[in-house]
Amino acid sequence: MILRIRIGGLGGHGILLAGRVLGTAAIYAGYDAIMTVAYSPEQRGGWSKADLVISDSEIDYPYIDEADILIVTTQEMFEREFKSLVNNGYLIYESSLVKPSQTSLNVRSIGIPAISLAEKTVKRRIAMNMVLVGGVTALSKIIDPKHVEEAIRSTVRKGTEEMNVKAMYAGYDYVRQLLY
C-alpha cells in the first residue's frame, strides 16, 4: 500500500502543519511516512507545498511526481498542481477559496467549506487546515481518526489542542456524510 498526498496553499494556511499531523498519525498507525516541503522563493506571502508519502513498507525515494490525493487552498495551487493527480485520484479543495476551473472524468472532487466549518465549530478561521486534515482522514480510510487526534495533540501549540481536534472532527464528519 502506498498513498501519496500533496497539499498546496498559501504560506500561513498551515499547509506544513496539516502534513505533519497526517504524517505523525500515519507513524502512530504503524506506517512509514515521509514528507518533503517546497516553498516559493519569497520568504513571506508565497505558496507552500507539502508532499506526504504513507506506506505500509519502507519508503525509499522521498519525492513524488503524482498524487493520489491533492488538497489545495488557493486557486494558484489548484492550477499548478491539478495535473499531478492520478487517474481515480481525489481532489479536495477549500470551497470558498478555490473554484475548480477544470476537471476530469477520472478525478473525484470534494469541496469542503473548511473556513466556515472552522468558524462554526471553533470560531477560528485558522483551524481550516485541521478541517481539511479531517476530510482527508475520512477519505483515505487507512488512518484512524484516533491516531489523527493523538497526532494533533502532540504537534500543535500548547493550549490549541482542543480547538484543532474539534476542527478535525468537523472535517471528518463532513466528508463521511458526503461519502456515505
Binding site: 502534513g19 505533519r20 504524517g23 505523525t24 500515519a26 507513524i27 502512530y28 512509514d32 511516512a33 515521509i34 514528507m35 518533503t36 516541503v37 519508503i59 525509499d60 525515494y61 522521498p62 519525492y63 497526532a151
Partner: protein
Amino acid sequence: MKSFHPRLLKPGRYFMQGNIATAEAALIAGCRFYAGYPITPSNEIAEWMSRRLPEVGGVFIQMEDEIGSIVAVLGASAAGVKAMTATSGPGFSLMMESVGLASMMEIPAVIVNVMRAGPSTGIPTLVGQGDIMQAKWGSHGDYEIIAYLPSSVQEVFDMTIKAFNMAEKYRVLTIVLSDQVIGHMIGKLVVPDYEEIEIIDRELPDVPPEKLVYPFDNSRLIPPMPIAGAGYRVNYDSLTHDERGYPSVDRDVSFRLVSRLVRKIRENEKAIAEWEEYYTDDADILLVAYGCTARSAKEVVKKLRRENIRIGLFRPKTAWPFPWWRMNELSKRVSKIVVAEINMGQMLHLVREYSARDVEIVHVPYAPGYMPPPSYIENIVRGVYGA
C-alpha cells in the same frame, strides 16, 4: 547509570525533520555547547539548538563566521563540554583549518555538514554529495577523522549520537555528512528508551594533577584528556609537540605524534566503519550508493530483484574510515559495480582503489542540486546489465 535531563526528547515515535532530529540527538548525546553561523540548508539545526540548549542548561552562540564557530566549539570541548557546530558548503570549507587543529590537539568535537550543491555558493537550497573527499582531505597535513553518511531521519539521529561517542572515545573530530534531502526530509523517528542508548564520555586522567607528567603519552593510542581548569596545567599545542605538550621540531617526536594521530583511527577502522548490504549474497552487479542517493538505489534493487536480476546494494554508512575490506571482498564476487552519487566522482575513487582489478566499474554522476530518481539509476543499470 547515566542521568538524562528531563527535558530531552522523550522515547517514542515521531514524525520529525532530519535537521531537528540531528539537534535532538546531539542533546541526548550530551552536547551542551553549540556555536554556528547561519547557512542554508543547515539552519534548522542552529535554530533548534538556540531554543533547546538553554532548556537543558547548555549554551548556544551565533559566531561571527564559521571559522570562529568551529574554534569556539573546540574551546568549549577543551573545557570538558561536548560541543558541536553545523554548517554546509562554503561554511564547511572555512572550517577546514580547524579540522587539523582538532586533530592535532586531539579535542573531540562534532561537525554536521548538511551537504548542498557546489562548488562555491552553488545552489544553497539543494542537495549535494560533493564533500566526501573534502571531509577527509580538506585540511593540510596528515590526520584522520570519522565521517558518517546518514540515509534517513532515523539514521541521522542515531549517527549524531554515535558521532559524539566516537569523538569522545577516540579524541577525534567526527563529521556527520548529512545532506539537504535528509536534513529537510520529515520522516519517521523512533527514540528508544534511554537505557538502550549508548553514551560514551572521554577518558579523563585518573592520576592526581601533580602526578601527570605526559599528557600526550605515545605509549597509548588515545591518552586520557586533561580538561581546562582541572589542575593539570597542560600546554596544548597546534605545533608538533612532544609527550609533555611542548613544541618540538625533532624528527622522532614528529613521527611518533603524527603516526599516533592516524594510527588511533586506522588501527580501529574495523570497529568504527559501518555499512549496509542489501541482496549482496548472490549479486552479480553491485550498486554502491550512500546518503540520500542510496534511497533511490535501494528502490532500484527492489524493482530489479522482482525481475530476477541479480543486483545488490553496498551502502557505506561511514565514508571515513571507508569499509575498504568489505568493498574488496564484494568486488571479487561481482562482475560489475555501479557507483551512483551526486557529484562528478568522489566515492568512485575509493571503490576503484579497493576493488578487484578485473571488475568493471561504472560511474553514475548526477547534477549537483538533485537527487537522482530511481528511474535514472535503473536505466543505467539496465544498460550495464544488458537487460
